[in-house]
């Protein structure tokens, strides 16, 4: 009767879940953001994301060939990195620059560490950091969304503002919001624009609604826990709130901090990258609070208008330490020695 018996460790059944499915869920969660980017920045946005994905996947394939490792493209993690990198870039970035960023993201940020699961830093952020350091001007050239071209015709890539030239701290804190000229006449309308996404900025970070939609999907699928996003947003809100209370003329309202820049997009999609975040819940809280605080610190007192990327990289570096600090204690307490 039985011709072929299999033997293995228990458990003999398993939940229908795979790394591929987890990554696929992240990609589904990213759909609203990609759609928003396509809506506001038109075909160029999609092309830019496409370039990033293609290069990320290609480089991973090549690295596997060189390292004589089995092909790992099926797990979709390279695609996720590509999309997130693409969404974090300014719309007018030349394609070749995006390609360079992708090569660094996967080659240096991921494969050099040993591939999926072994990398310390978020690969997409490594790629973006490299681009920011090497091509500062290109990386801070913001175009306004195509959908409001007629309303705000003054801005075009050519006369876009290089944020690093902003001078006084007071002016700077206002202009830290991406749409530099609008910040002066900061109004409810602008806050509304940051929610819908009708502002200048990187592809994925303009629309708060899209980020929330995608984030909600991830939370619903339990692909991510609420801990990290909640901690990031909480820290940002509290920190921004304190600054605002101290001097409402010098600093923008904390709501503005939440809806503008990469904060929402990053809180749900970048900071939650499981590989580079702590394992324990307590660790996740620390990690998220750290990211929120550093981001706001950079926004308010630093020289860059947006600090999310650096905040993530710093906290990625601290993750092993956080994990060591937040060891779990068994249910029965620490075992008695001896």
């Amino acid at each position: 009767m039985l011709r072929d018996i299999t033997v293995s460790f228990a458990p003999h059944i398993s939940k229908r879940l795979s790394t591929q499915r987890v990554m696929l869920d992240v990609l589904i969660g990213l759909v609203p953001l990609v759609a928003a980017a396509g809506f506001y920045f038109r075909i160029r946005a999609l092309l830019l994301i496409g370039v990033c994905v293609l290069w990320c996947v290609g480089i991973e394939w090549v690295c596997n060939l060189i390292r004589r490792r089995p092909n790992s493209l099926w797990d979709l993690s390279a695609v996720v990195t590509g999309v997130i990198l693409g969404l974090s870039l300014p719309p007018a970035l030349p394609f070749w620059t995006a390609a360079v960023g992708s090569v660094i993201a996967i080659g240096v940020g991921k494969m050099a560490f040993g591939g999926l699961g072994a990398n310390v830093f978020n690969p997409a952020m490594v790629g973006r950091a490299f681009l920011t350091a090497s091509f500062g001007i290109l990386m801070t050239t913001w175009t306004v969304p195509a959908s409001i071209d007629s309303a705000m015709p003054k801005l075009s890539p050519a006369d876009a503002v290089d944020t690093r030239t902003q001078a006084t701290p007071l002016a700077w804190s206002k202009t830290a919001i991406k749409n530099q000229t609008e910040a002066k006449t900061y109004s409810r309308r602008l806050l509304l624009s940051t929610i819908t996404g009708e502002v200048a900025g990187s592809l994925g970070e303009t629309s708060a609604i899209a980020a929330l939609l995608g984030g909600a999907y991830l939370l619903w699928r339990r692909t991510i826990g609420f801990h990290i996003p909640a901690a990031v947003l909480l820290a940002a809100f509290v920190f921004g709130g304190i600054a605002y209370l101290i001097d409402p003329d010098a600093y923008v309202s904390p709501f503005y901090h939440l809806t503008s820049g990469a904060l929402l997009f990053g809180a749900f999609f970048i900071a939650t990258d499981p590989v580079t975040a702590p394992l324990t819940r307590r660790g996740m809280w620390l990690f998220g609070l750290g990211i929120g605080t550093i981001t706001l610190l950079i926004r308010i007192v630093g020289t860059y208008p947006e600090g999310f990327m650096f905040a993530v990289l710093v906290m990625n570096g601290l993750t092993p330490l956080i994990d060591r600090l937040c060891r779990r204690v068994p249910v029965g307490g620490l075992p008695r020695v001896g």
Binding site: V7, A10, G117, V331, G332
Partner: protein, 457 residues
């Protein structure tokens, strides 16, 4: 009591595997097959193995003691049927691989008859002294029938420090597929209850709780009704628990019902609690009231590939193959045969492996289900998603332990409390990277045990 957000009594964390109990839950206990040879393993429990008390060619009576040892933590074995000792030889063992066994050729290979149990009208546990009960239980070779197989007599002895104040009866049966305890609670209710009261008398516990998962409402009702019938049993309470795996783990059950935690590395008696399984309780009644040794047990033979799944009353020593054939064989060519349930059961390589005192089920998994086992699925590196931590009922960090074992860093594994793992399998069950976390942890424990043997501290 510990409760979840819906007010159901439970422990924290854990998983919800598909229950799959519908295959056998409505099948009454029936006699199993008659076989040509029974192999009584000499090590069916935790503790010292038995020495054979018979020789090749000896004739044995049903219920005759055929193996025992003098160690404190040990349980003798008995011949289930009258017959001839065919040989003393090695036989496959679900855990140890091979083990010395006594092979008995029954006089007539007939199906066993279901035992009759009628509660004596004047049943009163206080008529038996704790001593008597413990001795009868020891003589009958009782061990925990739910899994580990710790000798019951040692468990239910009265203790002075700390005194045993609570008796917890495990009727959870949280493993998917298995229904033998459920059927016992439904059909042999009075016997189970009598055993519980005897165990209570022996250990001197003042409180008794019977924990049953809420997917078995009929069992909860049946046991509750029996308690009412018994009248004086008002100190016995049935507790309905949330259906969640591993609710029936000793430490989880204590936590759910009593809200207490057993110290890491400790055992329930350290906090004055005794946990016995319902099948063991039934056997205690048999042993004390009728002096019947533990020679038979109810086994659930189940799985989608089994033609006639059911709950069968079989002599201990029945080879798994005979059981499967009796149930109409397997409808597929390849499968995995598991002693126990799919979460913690042991896959066996040899179908001649005999049923032991602790085997509550034979689960045959189909090709499709095998494909769900970790090693068959595509693995990736750990993506540190934290799911294994979220489900670990002991609040460990499975991925850390498993990776330490894989890198042969046993001291790191210990620093993550490898020995606190109850090997429930929840972590492997959820891991999206399909890493055999539980397998690594088990391997690490074996390495550690070997190391300790080589270098006694």
């Amino acid at each position: 009591m510990a409760t979840d957000s819906h007010g159901r009594t439970t422990f924290s964390r854990g998983v919800h595997p598909p229950e799959s109990k519908h295959l056998t839950e409505d099948r009454p206990i029936e006699p199993g097959p008659g076989v040509a040879e029974l192999s009584i393993l000499l090590s069916q429990h935790i503790g010292a193995p038995c020495q054979a008390a018979v020789k090749k060619g000896d004739l044995v009576q049903a219920g005759q003691k055929i193996g025992e040892c003098q160690a404190f933590v040990c349980a003798p074995v008995h011949a289930p049927v009258a017959g001839k000792v065919k040989e003393l030889a090695l036989r496959p063992h679900p855990v140890l691989g091979r083990c010395q066994a006594i092979a008995i050729e029954p006089q007539e290979p007939a199906s066993p008859t279901l035992p009759s149990f009628s509660l004596p009208a004047d049943f009163d546990p206080t008529r038996h002294t704790p001593q008597e009960i413990c001795e009868a239980v020891r003589d009958a070779g009782l061990v925990g029938m739910g899994g580990a197989g710790f000798p019951t007599s040692v468990k239910i002895q009265p203790d002075a420090k700390p005194p045993k104040h609570t008796l917890l009866v495990n009727g959870c049966e949280c493993e998917p597929y298995i229904t033998c305890d459920y059927r016992l609670m439904l059909e042999w209710t009075d016997q189970v209850l009598a055993g519980i009261r005897l165990a209570q008398r022996a250990c001197g516990a003042s409180k008794v709780f019977i924990g049953v998962e809420d997917n078995k409402p009929k069992a909860i009702d049946a046991v509750g009704a029996a308690i009412k019938r018994a009248g004086s049993g008002s100190d016995i309470r049935v507790v309905s628990l949330q259906t969640k795996y591993p609710q029936g783990g000793e430490r989880q059950l204590i936590n759910a019902v009593l809200g207490q935690t057993v110290p890491t590395g400790g055992i329930p008696p350290m906090i004055g609690v005794v946990v016995i399984n319902v099948a063991t309780a039934a056997a205690i009644a048999d042993a004390v009231l009728y002096h019947r040794p533990l020679t038979h047990r109810v086994v659930t033979v189940t799985g989608e590939a089994i033609a006639k799944a059911g709950n069968y009353y079989v002599p201990i020593g029945t080879p798994v193959e005979a059981l499967i054939e009796f149930c109409g064989g397997v409808t597929e060519k390849s499968a995995k045969v598991v002693m126990g349930g799919p979460m913690m059961g042991l896959a066996i390589a040899d179908l001649n492996t005999p049923i032991t005192k602790t085997s509550g089920a034979v689960t045959v998994l189909t090709r499709r289900q095998i494909g769900q086992a970790k090693f068959e699925r595509r693995q990736t590196a750990c993506i540190r998603c934290g799911r294994c931590l979220e489900v670990c009922p002991e609040n460990l960090s499975p991925t850390r332990i498993a990776h330490a074992v894989r890198s042969n860093l046993l001291d790191v594994a210990q620093s993550y409390f490898i020995s606190a793992c109850i090997e429930c399998g929840c972590c492997s069950y959820v891991c999206p990277a399909n890493i055999e976390l539980t397998g690594y942890i088990k391997t690490g424990k074996i390495f550690l045990a070997r190391q300790r043997k080589k270098m006694p501290a």
